[in-house]
Structures are given as C-alpha cells and as structure tokens.
C-alpha cells in the first residue's frame, strides 16, 4: 500500500518533467547529435542512400576558401565587437552611476536599441550608411564640408565589416552597461573610503577597486557577447547580406548557404560541428581566464 502510494507520487513527479525533457530531446538534443552523425557521411537531400566517408567533410571544410573566410569574419566580428562593447560600457556605467538628475532617463536611452530586432536595426543603419548621395551619413558629411570622409560604408570590402561591428556595438553597449551598473552598485563604498585615506587618486581607485571588482560582470558580458558574436546573422543579413563578395559572411551564412541553398546537408552539418567546437574552446579559455580574475577579488 505504502509502495503503491510512493510509486504514484514518483510517477506524478516524472509527469511534470516529461514535457520539457521530451521536447528538448526531440527538437534540440537529437537533431544536434544527428548533425555530428551526418557530418561523417555524404548525406544530402537528393540522395536516397548515404554512406560513411569519415572526416572527408571536415578536410573539405578547411580547404573551402569561402568557409575559411566566413570563420575569419566571424572571429573578427566576435572579438572586436566584444572588446569595443566592453571598453565603452564600463566608462558609461561608471558615469551613469554618478548622482545625475537625469540618470534614469539616460540609462533608458542607452539601453533602448537592445530591445529592437537586430534585423530592423540593421535595415535602419543600411539606410543611414547607404552609399548613394542620399545616404544620410554621407549627406551630412558633404553638408559639413568634410568631403574626404564620405565612403561606401557597406560596399567597400575593407570597411563593410567595420561598419557591421559599429552597428552591433551601437545596439548592444547599453545592455552590457546595465550588467556593469548592477555590479557597480554591489561594490562596498568603504573600499573607496579606505583608498582615499591612503591618498590614492581617482585613477588608482578605478584600477585597484572598480576594475577589479567588476570581474563578475566582465565575465558575463565578455562570454555572452562572444558567444552571441559567433552566432551573428540577422544584423549582417540586413546590412550587407554578406557582401560585398563574401567580405562579411559569418559562419551562419555558410551553414544556411550549403545546408539550404545547395542542399549539402552533411557538409553544412560538419560546419556546424566546427562552429560548436570553436565556441566551446573559446568559452573554456575565457572562463578559465576570468574565473582566475574573480578569484583574485575573493
């Protein structure tokens, strides 16, 4: 009788877990594992049968100029958007932590772009940066008499990725700022008092206390921004559609291109596994580095 009661309770518990677990397995875990499996085959939509071909897809991936370019572009984007975002967000958070009359309104303004879809923000900036004379930025520059500065911001292969990074930083810096602000508010004020007594200047106080104690927020911001950077797609699609040529194509562009335009499923799967491995490696390195920094404050 007691056992029956117990069994009933156990079943009731598992019924609560089941929907989440089943859906997760069917729609995420199983397809992800299947990608690894497909990556070792020559599977494609046009074939009825497929066979194991070992690591051939991986060898080809690393010979494919277009894919290598997309990996380089993605790393460049992830690294520089993360660096810039954090380099701007820290001073911004410190400034907005001061006793300012309009600090809440200012915070709201700086955070706002994050709320909008990356696709629409990308299109908005492609209007502003467009190369033709009616492009807003070029128009302004001409009117100001700065005639050497107007550029084909999104069409010049040397500039396009930099413009894409600018837009990403423009959109996400406010978000990083909010995380830093929350962290700043948790730094005990006594610490600043004590370095004041020691006669330290503002810069030293920043270096020895603020910067050091922002370690947890920095870990989160750098990690999430890097991972997000590796998945970038919407903004680039709207801004440059990967062009000019494939100067701004990210890894996701390559996966979409080989997986859905050319129907080379196995090849695209191999690329997605490469993407996972890169994200895993970089996250592990970053976590190790940043957790050491966090240990230093404890």
């Amino acid at each position: 009788m007691i056992n029956k009661q117990k069994l009933k309770e156990t079943l009731q518990y598992e019924m609560l877990l089941l929907p989440a677990l089943a859906g997760f397995v069917i729609f995420f875990l199983y397809p992800s594992l299947q990608s690894i499996y497909y990556s070792l085959t020559n599977y494609s939509v046009n074939k009825l049968t497929y066979s194991f071909i070992g690591f051939t897809n991986y060898v080809e991936v690393f010979k494919d100029e277009r894919i290598l370019a997309s990996i380089r572009n993605t790393v460049y984007f992830a690294v520089f958007s993360t660096l810039l975002q954090n380099a701007l967000a820290i001073p911004l958070a410190i400034a907005l932590n001061a006793k300012l009359k309009s600090k809440f309104l200012l915070r709201m303004v700086f955070f706002m772009p994050w709320c909008f879809s990356g696709l629409i923000i990308g299109f908005l900036w492609s209007f502003i940066l467009s190369s033709s004379d009616d492009g807003l930025l070029n128009h302004v520059l001409h009117q100001l008499g700065i005639h050497f500065l107007p550029h084909n911001w999104l069409g010049d292969p040397g500039l396009a990725m930099k413009s894409v990074i600018f837009v990403a930083v423009w959109q996400t810096t406010g978000w990083a700022m909010i995380i830093y602000l929350a962290n700043l508010q948790s730094i005990p004020a006594e610490l600043y008092e004590s370095v004041k007594i020691d006669g330290a200047g503002k810069l030293q106080a920043f270096w020895h206390i603020t910067f050091k104690f922002l370690a947890p927020a920095m870990t989160i911001n750098v990690l999430l921004s890097t991972i997000g950077g590796f998945k970038v797609y919407d903004q680039i699609l709207a801004l440059t559609n990967g062009g000019p040529g494939y100067a701004t194509e990210s890894i996701t562009f390559s996966i979409m291109n080989y997986g859905f335009s050319e129907n080379r499923y196995a090849y695209a799967s191999a690329l997605s596994v490469v993407m996972l491995v890169i994200i895993l490696l970089i996250s592990l390195v970053q976590l190790r580095f940043f957790s050491k920094r966090e240990d230093n404050i404890a």
Binding site: Q12, L16, L17, P19, A20, I120, F123, I227, I255
Partner: protein
C-alpha cells in the same frame, strides 16, 4: 569657518563636474537618438523628399500617408497577430513546462535527475545552428513545416534549458517544509506545485517572461528557416520580404521599420524597470 568654505568649494566643484558630465552624456546619447529621429522624420514627408532631402523636415508637408500605405502593404494587423500568437504561446508554454520540470529535478534529486539537469545546462552553450539541418527533416516528417505551432515549439525547446536552469537555482532555495503540510493532506504533486511552489517563483517567472518575450518577438532566424507562406509571416519576416520587393525604396520601407519597432517600444517604455531588472537577474544567474 575656513573648513566650511573649503567643503562648499569642493562640493560646488563636484556639482559643476556632474553638470559637465550630464551634458556630455546627453551629447553622447544623441548618437543613439539621431538615427531614430531621422527614421521618423523621413516617414512623415512626401516620398520624393526622402531621397532628395533626407535631412529636411517641413511641417507644411507633414503627412502620415506613408504609414497608411505601409500598414496595408505589411498586412500589419495580420502579422501582428501572428507575432502575438507565437510569442504569447511560446512564453506561456516555456514558463509552465520549464518551472514544472525544474521542480521535479530539485525535489526528486536522484542520480538520474542530476544527469538530466547536467544535460540541460551543458546544452545551453550549444548553438541552435547545430540542430537546424536535421530539425528541418524532423519538421517535414511531423508536418510542422510552415506552421505557427512549429515556430512555437522551436522557440520553447531551444530555450528550455536556460529556463530550467533559472528555475532550478531558485527552487533550490525554497524549503521543502512548506510543501509537507499539503502533502500530508493528500494533495497530489501537481496540486502542491501549482498552489504552493509556483506562486513563490514570481521573481524568476517575471525574468523569464521578459527575456523570452523580447527574444521571441524579435526573432527572425526561426521564421526564415521554417515559415514559407506569407499567411504565417511575423513582423520581422514580413519586413524582410518587403525589403526584397521594394528594394531600396526607402520611402516605402522606413514606415514599416517604425511600425515594426513600435510594439516593442511601447512595451519598453511601460516596462523598462522590469525589463532592466529582468535582464540583470537573468544574466547574473546565467
């Protein structure tokens, strides 16, 4: 007397410093605001002026005709409804099954449950791109291609791991003793969870609702993968399709961008405290 003058001198310097800081921050804020300003200005004038004079603004030619046209071209009411269905459906589903799954994982706590928990959290880092090619095939087999239900399911199950993780950390802090009395009275597990545990989870539920609503509402990637017919387009997907049709006819497109941003802007203005709080809570835990 002397010390007083010194201290007021210092604080006056502080006040001046703060005013300078505040003014510079507002100048910097223009970098954020100006693009939105020109976006809106260029939707309120005759089409030919958008190209010829993008920076000008003239009250005498003010017109909202472009919005009326954009509203119709986008089938705004329809795409808005699709957005509401996918975002609303996915958020409700993810809250219900995410919280209940986390509840079982905390309360049962066997080796197997620990394994499931670690399976969830280690998948958080796996990019959705890993799953898309096989998922495409699964969707075709299950007749989920080109359906709103399919979009909802992808939304829910590519984010469920993170949501379970948020709930798990919170439920662990709720003492089991609270539930014991209800259990003694013969309440079922479900009933105990719904009536005693779930109401205590509001802080997490709020965070989940806010983070996921914004993410689902703005999604484009899932739509482009799994939705083909305009009947099921959401706002971003429709805007993308229209950019294809109108090419760079900015006078037709800019009002669509504004209409696309408007719902989330309204949500942000009214909910900004909760949004910022939710983002902070969600990422500090994650």
């Amino acid at each position: 007397m002397k010390s007083i003058t010194v201290s007021t001198g210092a604080s006056r310097k502080g006040i001046v410093g703060n005013v300078v800081l505040e003014v510079s921050l507002w100048i910097l804020a223009l970098v954020i605001l100006i693009p939105f300003y020109y976006l809106v200005v260029n939707t309120l004038k005759p089409a030919k002026d958008v190209v010829a004079r993008p920076m000008s603004f003239d009250w005498s030619t003010l017109s909202i005709d472009s919005y009326i046209k954009a509203f119709q071209d986008m089938h705004y009411g329809h795409v808005f409804l699709n957005n509401l269905i996918t975002t609303g459906g996915a958020v409700i589903l993810i809250v219900l099954i995410g919280s209940s799954a986390a509840y079982t994982l905390v309360r049962r706590n066997t080796k197997l449950h620990k394994f499931v928990y670690y399976l969830f959290i280690s998948s958080i880092i796996v990019p959705f791109q890993m799953a898309i090619v096989p998922l495409f095939k699964i969707f075709v087999k299950m007749n989920l291609m080109n359906t709103l239900l399919g979009v909802i399911l992808v939304f829910v199950f590519t984010n469920i791991a993170f949501v379970v993780f948020l709930y798990y950390s919170f439920i662990r802090t709720i003492p089991y003793a609270l539930e014991e009395a209800a259990k003694m009275d013969g309440a079922s597990v479900l009933r105990t969870f719904v009536s005693i545990c779930f109401p205590l989870l509001w802080p997490v539920t709020g965070t989940v609702i806010i983070i996921q609503s914004v993410a689902f509402w703005n999604d484009f990637f899932v739509q482009i993968l799994f939705i083909v017919s305009p009947k099921y387009f959401t706002i971003t997907r429709m805007i993308y399709a229209n950019v294809g049709i109108f090419s760079t006819d900015w006078s037709a497109l800019l009002p669509m961008f504004v209409l696309g941003m408007l719902p989330i802007l309204i949500f942000y203005v009214f909910m900004q405290k909760s949004i910022i709080g939710g983002i902070t809570a969600g990422s500090v835990k994650g």
